[in-house]
Symmetry: C2
């Protein structure tokens, strides 16, 4: 079964095609803004999910204080579009990056993260070149085992290094607690805050992150802002995490069934170069709205392998189906554009302007 809208998407754009429902996008933006305000937190959405200055500006118009980027290339796109409060939540290293960071500082108020002395030692070069002080937060790891110092004592040491560096301002702490790790995060933050205060420093910004942490919003005493990313579109992972419903999923991949080589199998024209191999830890690679019992079992680069053995109704070759991806952030990054709809009306294409900005 192909919906009339899916047939039009296929006819006008072809498949596979990413389609975003702008009513849902706006609803998601409003809901998270309201949640931040209710929790007394500033909202600093992470643009890695949508990579579009148009959508970033919608988030800011709804009340967001600024944005978060992971890469300089993303921040450059956003600053060029006029966004002026940008956190790059990442360790930046090297002359090439310092020159770009300096250029960015001329356009926007930049804050960057650091979790080690090598990073901090490089940043004054950017500050000096721009002639403006650079805000730096210390990234703290309270259990995720990614980047970030693992002890409050190290956090305090780095805060002091930042404060002692020419052109750098210690701005505060950045955390990304696991969904079950907010007690540990509180303990870490309390010690780190006490530590910097004992040295006469103030943490004006305490930033937490993660859409699945919606359920923990407001729990951290001393938190000042939260970085939500995925919420603008949502995906199968957010539904699994209990922070979104299927109706909150604003992005669908429209894909054509191109082969039914055997009764219990099928092939989609969306493979790992569209949906990516990122399973998000879930079984199967996406929910097909028209065939929820069908399983996207695996991928070749341009083939999605459908297991139809549990399906009562099975698609025909030529059917266009709608897929909620497991992890929408990496899927959007595969696209030059997404198609916008409102209800059943196609309203145009939106460029994924910061797609592929890997440095």
């Amino acid at each position: 079964m192909t919906t009339p809208l899916a047939a039009r998407i296929a006819r006008e754009y072809g498949t596979p095609c990413a389609v975003i429902d702008m009513d849902r996008v706006e609803r998601n933006i409003a809901r998270i803004q309201a949640a931040c305000e209710a929790a007394g937190l500033a909202n600093r959405p992470h643009i890695k999910t949508h990579k579009s200055p148009v959508l970033a500006k919608m988030q800011i118009a709804a009340g967001a204080k600024g944005i978060t980027c992971q890469k300089l290339g993303e921040a450059e796109i956003m600053a060029d579009a006029g966004i002026d409060d940008i956190l790059i939540s990442y360790n930046l290293i090297g002359e090439e990056k310092m020159a770009r960071l300096a250029a960015l500082q001329a356009k926007a108020h930049m804050t960057v993260a650091a979790d080690n002395s090598t990073v901090i030692a490089g940043l004054p070069q950017a500050a000096a070149a721009s002639g403006r002080p650079l805000s730096v937060v210390v990234e703290c790891d309270t259990g995720r085992k990614r980047a970030g110092v693992e002890t409050p004592a190290e956090a305090v040491t780095l805060a002091r290094e930042i404060a002692a560096s020419r052109g750098l301002t210690f701005a505060g702490f950045m955390l990304y607690p696991t969904e079950t790790g907010w007690v540990e995060a509180q303990k870490f933050l309390d010690e780190a805050l006490a530590g910097v205060r004992a040295h006469g420093l103030d943490a004006a910004m305490v930033s937490t992150g993660g859409t699945p942490n919606l359920k923990n919003l407001g729990k951290l005493k001393g938190g000042t802002e939260h970085r939500f990313g995925t919420y603008i579109y949502n995906d199968r992972m957010q539904v699994a995490a209990g922070v979104a419903t299927w109706d909150d999923c604003a992005l669908h991949i429209y894909s054509t069934v191109v082969s039914r080589a055997a009764p219990e199998r099928g092939i989609l024209d969306a493979g790992s170069k569209t949906l990516t191999s990122d399973s998000g830890g879930l079984e199967g690679h996406g929910l097909i709205l028209e065939h929820p019992e069908a399983r996207i079992a695996r991928f070749a680069e341009e083939h999605g392998f459908l297991d139809l053995s549990r399906s009562n109704t099975r698609p025909n070759v030529g059917d266009v189906v709608r897929i909620v991806p497991n992890h929408v952030c990496v899927v959007v990054n595969m696209m030059d554009e997404v198609v916008m709809v409102r209800g059943d009306e196609i309203t145009g294409a939106l460029k994924v302007a910061a797609r592929g900005k890997l440095r």
Copy 2:
């Protein structure tokens, strides 16, 4: 440890950065061309790996008969660059795609694949619009369980449907045997060839595929050409398959170690948005040349998680390392450009012109 070349790549382009060694690229092109000629087969390289008309033309200059594409968008880039013999090894469906296929036919000799009657029923629209006959091969599945008819009888039925369709020419069969499935492929092909001949049809083209099938090249009696893709760059999967050495791996991802939050852990600036989550079935996500005992254990979008517990020498923050990816085809598709080197000299950037052509 950072090599002098890696330091220059980081300074001039930044990391993460895909770097191709053009001496190795040329050697790989020559080696596979020679292997095809020794086996009496035409060479029809699959451009999905490099997505560059510059490299496709190098393959043709070395003796390739034509090229293979998986998507219309890839073929459009290649035809616009003047390549005139293109196989799209994929079921194409829908008005939008038929209009584009017709436009392509005006520029190049096109062959497309089909494994079902729905696809075949649509193709005459493209042939009629272009005013030229369209060559169609029947895709046969001899064990991979992807697209392709599963029995010789079905293959013969579809061959007859193609031959009976206005504007279509039955061109032959396309197979993609598994590495251990060439006896089955021979049996399938023999029956299919006998079947079409009994109906007065001829299979001028019998195309096999896959770089790992280098070890089977020439085994299929009746084969006329082979589609190699990955061989131009090679990767950890090809080394694991025994068809390439580390010295044949022509593409490396240069990545900076941005964090060493704990002694046995590290973070690379290449995550799933650079190296992709496609493991290719291997343990770990790539070989780090400078630290072969280090394990790229998992990814966040922009973080590669390094497990250094088995490493004697461990990288410092700021080190630039070189990574052989598990599956190079999907990695190249994340990049707008790759940087070319010869030995230790940077010779320029090459656009990945057909990147992201997902339809």
